[in-house]
């Protein structure tokens, strides 16, 4: 009769132990084959096997003389030897009731003899046997059995070795997998990547499993498929949107119950009703799902494993899933935290940096659908903002169509570069006018790197554009003028005003190139024959802010002299301060010569009648050769001659007014500067020259009048256009300046060497540095640090002409020493031949944004600190609660035991021990409670007038009673009352902590000293012990909660005593000081004020530390 092999009672645990070795179904290995070969030879048998007994089969890791890798467990011999430690010997199977009917005995391979030594693991499980088999019956003596057992031990060693290697490898894989995921989280990888990595990590740990993370959508209360790289898309599509409920699949239930749910076989599970087909189709038979939990254990999603066959995962596998779920939870929480920070930060940034503009948020698509638009839009476009917000009108519709492609390009480029962008374009306002818009915006990205929306600010820059346009026209006019135009700054102190602009006319007139003269003073035109007196007069006039008109000898670059007529006008800012000068110059050498000759001939005309004809002819010739208008007056102020130009400008024919009195003909000229100047010239017999507006014509004339014997000759020309150009230039300059001086951003210009030549008032407001002191210095002199650690290399590259602009953030040092972060944006200014003659740019204060960033960092570090505190608390509590609990539990059983046996002394001992440990736990909980109150600032502080000596004496008596003869406590300074205002409860905490620490951390027989010294305003408490002391490296962290020095050994404690002591002392406005040497002892000094402080100032938080020498 066949007997089935008995199953050991611990069969399932034995199976688990076998699977831990991961050896089943692995290929043959020489290290095992060597042993079976040896066994077969040693015992002279045909077959030797290393057999392992699996659930339903016997599997052979090594088979010598037998080519079957597995047989059914029902017929297994080895399965009969899973309990004992003995070699099982079957000398003749035919005569053994257990095997006589066994098919492998009655038929091939017809086994008769069997001997098997159990393969026993160190934890006591028999995995199988090393067995030898023969087809003949034989005996097997004790010595042979011992030998077989030795060989079996070798097999076991080999198995152990394999497993050790395997588990080390597994540990390494787990650690490196976890580390990678943590690194990703720290590196702020997108959530989807972290979740994918987590899923793959768990899949690697559990063969045949496919994992999926589903995330909870709070709004729809459904689960969304999130990370499941190895599950088919069609299955995920079906699973996406799974409802949360008690009857929904596996994950829906997991999320509902906030607990792990196992579906051993999906096809048997009514909760999967309706999804059987899709599960079968994708070969998913078992599912194990664990909740992903966040703060306060709220469900964030589920972490599920799918298996191809009905399956119940092992405890180890479940642990991996929980670990995966935990990591996913952390990643999700971090992302949420980061997202909410980022959202608020973005809102903040938009607000702070863009106040003056119009703020909007729109989608990043073809239509730029407006999501938000601040008020004030109607001022620009004439349409109220909500027209766009409500989608009644697309913003795109009002953009001038020609500008659309350009905007799209800019936005696309910015999105690709993940940077912000600036674009200027035109819109057609509601009234039909074209407005120029400057749009500064940036794309905002979600965690997966997709554009969420565009945030931006729009400014109406129409006016600026118009000014720019006017300026451009003017500049063209000035550039094209044949006259030389020069602009200088307003600096009159030596070396004098510096040239900031010169037109091509100047180059032509003087032979200098523009680049050569920028930054120099117009003095370079002066030479030996320059009229020094006139120059002095010029300076005087300029200092008085008056315009100047005059001529002097100047010199060209090649040294040749020319007569230069200067017209200089000051340019003023809104404070009426002169900031620049505009000088228009004319080379009048030729005209001067012509004029001089003319005058000579006119005189000759009067003197020599003979020469009249000739002179007249010459005069006409000369007159015709000059372009200026010209007339002469006799002493009666009657016209004696007018040339053609004069006829034209004065609008009178010569023959009509010759002989007529000038003041009768032009009565409106009476009393004007013209009359005064002419009269002065005649009276002083000296030439005059001036420019003046002739009101009747509304035109400006430049006039030179020369008195001669018979009257006055007057040359004049219409300079209205030139005057208007100058005026317009002045006005635009002023307008431009007004803008520059009123913007919040710093505007600067530098010369070609990068030295500052101009700064607007915002410089002083922002940095605190005086403008005058900063000019002439390189901008780098004020920069302490740059964002990109390039130290402004970009800026230098730009100065060298290699870049068209630069933009970086730099930390400027304010005059008060405080750092200011500013965005530096600069462009090169180029001269006529393209060389860089300087730079101009702006500094935008980004300190606030930087501060926000800093705060964000601080918040994160606070969060980490809390995490550390929490974990320290958990490890403290688990130890400090577990030990007394274990003691209480065993003492309770022992008390019971001894009571039953009537051993009274032992019973009492254990009852007392229970009491002591209950006290110990109560103290711990009390400490935690007090600390909790202290941390949240709810520690009650109610000082009253009390006696320190009385309280201390009472506490010292308590301590002495508690410790008996183990320690000596010496007290001094406690004779008589020591009145002070303090909270007796807190003070009791302070003193008890000090005394009990002193005793706890001291050897038996040592002395603890307690001293009080009182002064007028303070009491000083000193507690000295001769105990283990505090290692130096722990002293800094002594008052941190849950921190315990590394040398406390097994002395129990929470690490809260000193933290509480510190809080209590702080509340009294007192101080704590510690001196300690490891191995020698510690001294604590507490100083408390005797009266309650009146002010509500923050209690002092300083801790003074020093080591006793």
């Amino acid at each position: 009769m066949e007997t089935l092999p008995p199953e050991p009672s611990h069969e399932s645990r034995r199976q688990e132990a076998l699977h831990r070795y991961r050896i089943l179904d692995t290929p043959p290995e020489e290290s095992f084959d060597r042993i079976t070969r040896l066994a077969a030879q040693l015992f002279d048998v045909p077959v030797a096997l290393v057999s392992l007994v699996d659930k339903e089969r016997q599997w052979h890791k090594s088979c010598y003389g037998f080519d079957t890798r597995e047989i059914e467990r029902e017929v297994s011999f080895c399965a009969h030897n899973l309990l004992g430690d003995e070699v099982m010997v079957v000398e003749d199977a035919m005569h053994d009731a257990r095997f006589a009917d066994n098919p492998i005995v009655t038929a091939e391979p017809s086994i008769r003899f069997y001997a098997g030594a159990p393969l026993r693991t160190p934890d006591g499980y028999t995995l199988g046997s090393l067995c030898i088999i023969d087809v003949e019956p034989r005996s097997f003596d004790a010595q042979e059995q011992a030998q077989l057992r030795d060989l079996a031990a070798m097999v076991t060693d080999e198995l152990e070795l394999r497993r050790e290697v395997y588990s080390r490898k597994k540990v390494e894989t787990i650690q490196s997998g976890q580390n990678r995921i943590l690194e990703q989280m720290i590196g702020r990888a997108p959530l989807s990547e972290v979740l994918d990595a987590t899923v793959q990590f768990v899949e690697r740990m559990i063969p045949d499993a496919r994992a999926a993370i589903m995330l909870l959508d709070r709004e729809t209360k459904t689960l969304r498929a999130s990370a499941a790289p190895h599950l088919p898309q069609s299955f995920l599509d079906a699973a996406d949107g799974t409802a949360i409920g008690p009857d929904v699949g596996t994950c829906g239930r997991t999320a509902f119950q906030n607990d792990e749910v196992l579906t051993h076989d999906i096809l048997d599970d009514p909760h999967w009703e309706g999804a059987h087909d899709i599960a079968r189709e994708h070969g998913l038979r078992a599912c194990w799902s664990a909740p992903i939990r966040g703060e306060e254990d709220a469900v964030l999603g589920t972490f599920a494993l799918y298996f191809p066959a009905p399956y119940t995962p092992s405890e180890t596998e479940r642990r991996f899933v929980r670990q995966g779920a935990r990591m996913a939870g952390i990643a999700i929480e971090r992302t949420h935290a980061r997202q909410s920070l980022r959202t608020s930060e973005e809102r903040f940034r938009s607000l702070v940096s863009n106040l003056p503009g119009l703020v909007y948020r729109c989608t990043y698509d073809e239509d730029w659908t407006t999501l938000y638009m601040s008020h004030g839009y109607d001022e620009i476009a004439g349409y109220p903002a909500d027209v766009f917000e409500q989608g009644k009108r697309s913003f795109k519709e009002i953009v001038v169509p020609d500008d659309l492609p350009m905007i799209r390009d800019v936005v696309r480029a910015a999105v690709n570069a993940r940077s912000h962008y600036e674009v200027e374009f035109r819109i057609r306002a509601r009234d039909g006018t074209i407005r120029w818009i400057q749009d500064v915006a940036r794309p905002c990205f979600d965690d997966d790197g997709r554009v969420k929306w565009l945030d931006g600010v729009m400014f109406d820059i129409t006016e600026r554009k118009q000014t720019e346009e006017r300026l451009r026209l003017l500049e063209t006019a000035v550039n094209d003028a044949t006259e030389s135009v020069l602009m200088t700054d307003g600096e009159l102190d030596p070396p004098g005003p510096r040239i900031v602009y010169a037109n091509p006319g100047f180059e032509e007139m003087t032979g200098y190139q523009v680049e050569e003269v920028i930054g120099k003073t117009p003095r370079l035109l002066q030479g030996p024959d320059t009229d020094e007196a006139l120059m002095a007069e010029l300076r005087e006039l300029l200092e008085a802010g008056e315009p100047f008109l005059g001529e002097t000898i100047n010199y060209r670059k090649d040294g040749s002299p020319f007569v230069n007529e200067w017209s200089i006008s000051p340019v003023r800012n809104e404070h009426d301060e002169v900031t620049h000068y505009v000088a228009v110059q004319r080379d009048i050498t030729e005209r001067k010569e012509a004029e001089a000759e003319l005058v000579r001939y006119a005189e000759e005309l009067q003197r020599t009648t003979d020469a009249l004809e000739e002179a007249k002819a010459r005069t006409d010739r000369i007159l015709a050769s000059i372009t200026d208008a010209f007339f002469t007056l006799n002493h009666e102020w009657e016209f004696t001659f007018l040339n053609e130009q004069a006829e034209h400008l004065l609008e009178h024919a010569a023959d009509a007014i010759e002989g007529a009195n000038i003041w009768t003909t032009f009565p409106e000229a009476r009393g004007t500067v013209f009359q005064k100047q002419y009269e002065r010239a005649v009276a002083d017999d000296e030439a005059v020259q001036f420019e003046a507006l002739y009101p009747a014509h509304s035109r400006w004339y430049r006039v030179h009048a020369y008195p001669f014997e018979d009257g006055l000759s007057v040359f004049f020309s219409d300079v209205t256009e030139k005057k208007r150009a100058e005026q317009a230039l002045r006005e635009s300059e002023e307008k431009y300046r007004t803008v520059v001086e009123n913007v919040k951003d710093v505007v600067f210009r530098t010369d070609a060497e990068g030295r500052l030549t101009f700064l607007n008032p915002a410089w002083k407001e922002t940095t605190g540095h005086a403008i005058e002191a900063a000019l002439g210095q390189p901008i780098g002199a004020f920069i302490r640090d740059t964002d990109d650690a390039t130290d402004g290399a970009e800026y230098d590259a730009m100065l060298a002409g290699e870049k068209d602009f630069c933009r970086y953030e730099a930390q400027f040092e304010g005059a008060d020493g405080a750092p200011r972060w500013m965005e530096v944006f600069a462009r090169p200014m180029r001269g006529g031949n393209g060389t860089v003659v300087g730079t101009s740019g702006t500094l935008h204060d980004v300190s606030k944004w930087r501060e926000a960033e800093e705060q964000m960092r601080k918040a994160l570090s606070k969060e980490r600190e809390l995490g550390r505190l929490k974990s320290r608390f958990v490890s403290m509590a688990s130890h400090e609660l577990r030990t007394p609990l274990a003691t209480i539990q065993s003492s309770a059983e022992l008390a019971d035991l001894f009571m039953k046996r009537g051993v009274e002394e032992k019973t009492t001992k254990h009852l007392k021990r229970i009491q002591d440990n209950v006290d110990r736990m109560a103290t711990l909980l009390e400490d935690v409670l007090i600390f909790g109150r202290a941390e949240s600032g709810r520690l009650p502080f109610e000082p009253i007038s009390m006696d320190l000596a009385g309280l201390a004496s009472e506490l010292i008596d308590d301590i002495r009673q508690g410790i008996g003869a183990a320690h000596t406590v010496e007290a001094s300074g406690l004779d008589g009352e020591i009145p002070l205002e303090a909270d007796p409860q807190l003070l009791r905490l302070v003193l008890t902590n000090l005394l009990s620490n002193a005793v706890k951390y001291s050897r038996e027989g040592s002395t603890v000293r307690f001293e009080v010294a009182s002064a007028d305003e303070h009491v000083h408490i000193v507690v000295r012990d001769e105990g283990i002391g505090i290692p130096e490296e722990d002293q800094d962290r002594l008052f941190e909660p849950f921190h315990r020095a590394e040398n406390v050994g097994s002395a129990s404690g929470t690490g809260l005593g000193l933290a509480i002591l510190k809080e209590a002392t702080d509340l009294h406005h007192g101080t704590v000081q510690v001196n300690s040497v490891e191995g020698k002892g510690s001294t604590f000094h507490i100083t408390l004020p005797r009266t309650r402080p009146d002010d509500e100032s923050e209690p002092t938080r300083e801790v003074h530390m020093s080591n006793e020498a």
Binding site: T887, S890, G1049, S1050
Partner: protein, 124 residues
């Protein structure tokens, strides 16, 4: 009568274990840290060592190694760990180092006695 050495840093727990063992007629020895535990083992050669896994200073594994390396006697003496940990890998490592059994903390008196009896009977 067999002698059991208890190495446990919590004096109360060590004492309770000893009380229990004494009530069952074992002789007991106590040591409250690893170093004195190893010394007591060498001096008194107990029939069984019960040792706490987590102790300040010399920990359980170090005690086990020291005893196992202390000659033939040390190789054979049954050694049981007391631990609150349920970490399977820690147990595997302990077994590899030569531990014979685990006693979980807090104690289940029946399990404790089973383990002790098995360990002592095996070598008696």
């Amino acid at each position: 009568m067999s002698t059991v050495l208890v190495i446990e840093d919590e004096p109360d727990i060590a004492d309770n274990l000893c009380d229990l063992l004494e009530a069952l007629d074992y002789r007991t020895l106590q040591a409250h840290d690893g170093a004195s535990g190893v010394e007591a083992a060498q001096t008194h050669r107990p029939d069984l060592v019960i040792c706490d896994m987590q102790m300040p200073g010399q920990n359980g594994h170090e005690v086990l190694r020291a005893i196992r390396e202390a000659g033939a006697w040390g190789t054979d003496v049954p050694f049981a760990f007391v631990t609150a940990s349920t970490d399977a890998e820690l147990k595997e490592k302990s077994m590899a180092l030569g531990a014979d059994a685990f006693i979980s903390k807090p104690f289940d008196i029946d399990q404790l006695l089973d383990t002790i009896r098995t360990l002592l009977d095996d070598t008696s």
